[in-house]
Symmetry: C2
Subunit: 202 residues, 2 copies
């Protein structure tokens, strides 16, 4: 068997029992209107992300808080019905904002910030969160792993600084690709490197 075929086979077998891990950097989701205010136009896709339909945009923003700012922050598309800023707790320290740990979309009563783009700026009343660690998967994969949507599981990381993360939320949709999403605090705490895998413990 060719080396490439063997590697592909090994990956397919691993994917039956493990989930690929990914580290999500700080990023922003915007509404159509917010994108227009910040950049003078809609979002420009440059690269697809692991989750089907999601993409990194050409546009970048500065996120400003009472104590500091983070420049060159990624904007992810497509546009959403509500703006959202996902940062790590370390980033929160830089900005002077204490983000609650929440699942994406759950921004009620979260702190706000200022977003600055090339063409304008916006003051968000709320929307700054630290992403709750979570695992994306399809209904078929959920069946295989024996988990349901919203279930909280543990994740054993096979990384340089191994950790069992507790409070990891399972998110299921036919639109998803299997992936554990950690923020950079979590990724560094477990010594994550691209290509690492984790095992769901229920």
């Amino acid at each position: 068997m060719e080396k490439e075929s063997l590697e592909a086979l090994a990956e397919a077998v691993l994917g039956q029992i493990l989930v690929p891990m990914e580290a999500s950097g700080r990023h922003v989701h915007l509404t159509k209107e917010q994108a227009r205010t910040l950049f003078g136009h809609g979002l420009t896709p440059v690269r697809p992300l692991s989750q089907p339909g999601q993409y990194l945009c050409k546009e970048r923003v500065t996120v400003a808080g009472p104590k500091g700012k983070l420049s060159n922050v990624a904007v992810l598309g497509p546009e959403r019905p509500e703006g959202q800023v996902e940062i790590s707790l370390t980033d929160g320290k830089t900005l002077g904002i204490q983000p609650p740990v929440r699942l994406s979309g759950d921004v009620k009563s979260s702190p706000g910030c200022v977003l600055v783009g090339e063409q304008g700026e916006i003051a968000l009343d709320c929307g700054v969160i630290a992403a709750q660690r979570h695992i994306h998967m399809t209904p078929e994969e959920a069946k295989r792993f024996g988990v349901t949507d919203g279930q909280v599981v543990r994740l054993q990381t096979y990384t340089r600084r191994p950790v069992v993360f507790q409070d990891v939320t399972v998110r299921i949709s036919p639109k998803f690709a299997p992936a554990v999403h950690l923020d950079y605090d979590e990724a560094n705490a477990c010594g994550f490197r691209a290509g690492d895998w984790g095992r769901i413990l229920t």
Copy 2:
């Protein structure tokens, strides 16, 4: 019983089965000679640390790497036989340095950096590490927890984002006070707040 006495009692009981956790920010250890070069004089203690005999100094340094620098970095005393810079993997990204994960003192073949003080600067050939997570304790406490010096244990954190850290090294000395030491990546990954406790799992 007074509320204060009850709290002290609760703390004493907890201390029998749990270990207090601490987050260590980035910091530098210096030799006498290095301190003299950087500041023109020896180190000036301003505040004792949890480990007996260790102290935070008035002096601060800038740590510079090929990609960036960190200013206002804490210097810890007393002076040591060898200089050492302890940063997180996140800090390493800022500096453009990939620190190995090591126990304090184990700096062989680690990357170097430049230290800048008020009076001078130093190029370190090696000494930049990310601290291996560890637990300080006395021989009496080690006996109670059933662990030996250098033993690698797991630690269950009782924190907002609970985690079981694996690869936690036990360090025993009659000079130590009981404390889990995490870096800020690890502290944020588990949602650590001052006063949190962890439980040793062997």
